[in-house]
Symmetry: C2
Subunit: 197 residues, 2 copies
């Protein structure tokens, strides 16, 4: 029996996902055939099928990778003493992620697909609810610490922090020469001034 090397499996999986992301960003989910993903990844359909049985399973893996990336940012900061600072730093790191052009274009694509494909929407909503729940927990902690204004509902504030991060993706894709470091003081100000008493 042949042994399976988990590192090689992961490298192959990554190779397919990178090729697929590139195809989707250029042609959209619907405009991309599995044949063109195979060509971009330099492998046969049979080989691709071994890792991802359908195009939908590739999209799911990409959505899950996005989920993992945001989850990591929250985990890094959730333990911070000062909840308001944690929220500010999470938003900054999220913007840094969003300012990566391929991530930004794939986010728009996943969003458009999720708005009409129930399976992708379900995946998207699980992630969305998780991120929102984590943001609400941090806002509530900030309120208890006396740093965040209790006058506004935490779930409404969480919605607008997410809207801001999602809206950033559009700026990255459509503003030529988007420079994150120039923008950073503005979104730090938005977060702090909106949340503070």
């Amino acid at each position: 029996m042949r042994k399976v090397d988990p590192e090689k499996v992961e490298a192959k999986r990554r190779q397919i996902l990178d090729a697929a992301i590139d195809c989707f960003a250029r042609q959209g989910f619907h405009g991309t055939s599995t044949a063109s993903i195979c060509a971009a990844a330099g492998m046969s359909p049979g080989n691709l099928f071994h890792y991802f049985p359908t195009k939908a399973s590739i999209i799911e893996a990409i959505a899950q990778d996005e989920q993992l990336a945001t989850a990591e940012i929250f985990e890094k900061w959730s333990g911070a003493e000062d909840a308001l600072t944690a929220i500010e730093e999470i938003v900054v790191e999220w913007m840094r992620l969003a300012s990566e052009p391929t991530y930004a274009r794939i986010s728009i694509e996943v969003g458009a697909e999720a708005s009409r494909n129930p399976d992708i929407k379900a995946l998207f909503l699980v992630n969305d609810q998780r991120v929102k729940g984590r943001m609400i927990t941090l806002i509530e902690r900030g309120i208890r610490q006396g740093a965040i204004d209790a006058a506004l509902a935490p779930d409404l504030l969480a919605s607008w922090l997410i809207a801001l991060a999602e809206g950033a993706v559009g700026r990255v894709v459509f503003e030529s020469k988007f420079d994150l470091s120039a923008h950073e003081p503005v979104f730090r100000r938005i977060v702090r001034r909106t949340l503070q008493k």
Copy 2:
């Protein structure tokens, strides 16, 4: 010679655009054939061709309608005495527009298409630059009036007001029972606190 009734022409044009918007929101631009637009609009391909020679020309008309809707909001408020109030009210009306579910879904679709189709991107960028330019003019007026903080560059502030409005579209599509009136105090606060000294 047959007379052309401009009202009838406009009604027919509207009928096609509404049918196309419905198809695009459900199946995406690429997943929608002109045949399915004809079926939804209840007209023959020859008749549709008379109004819109290509699918791309329908997408262009939809993007132009979006452009017109935001331009109207700016025109309504640009004459207001107090620039900060004008900006706040423009953002509120923009959110009201974005909270219309069909508008929101088509916005996501236009954004995704614009990120990979150069013709749609060019159209999108003309609108984007116009909106941003108008926002910058208002911010500069607010600075001269002493109501808006001169410490931050007007073009950076304009980017984030646009990001907020564009991010709102995602919340409308993905948050079940999105209630605009509940959210209104939050985005009024974001705009005012971010811009004020």
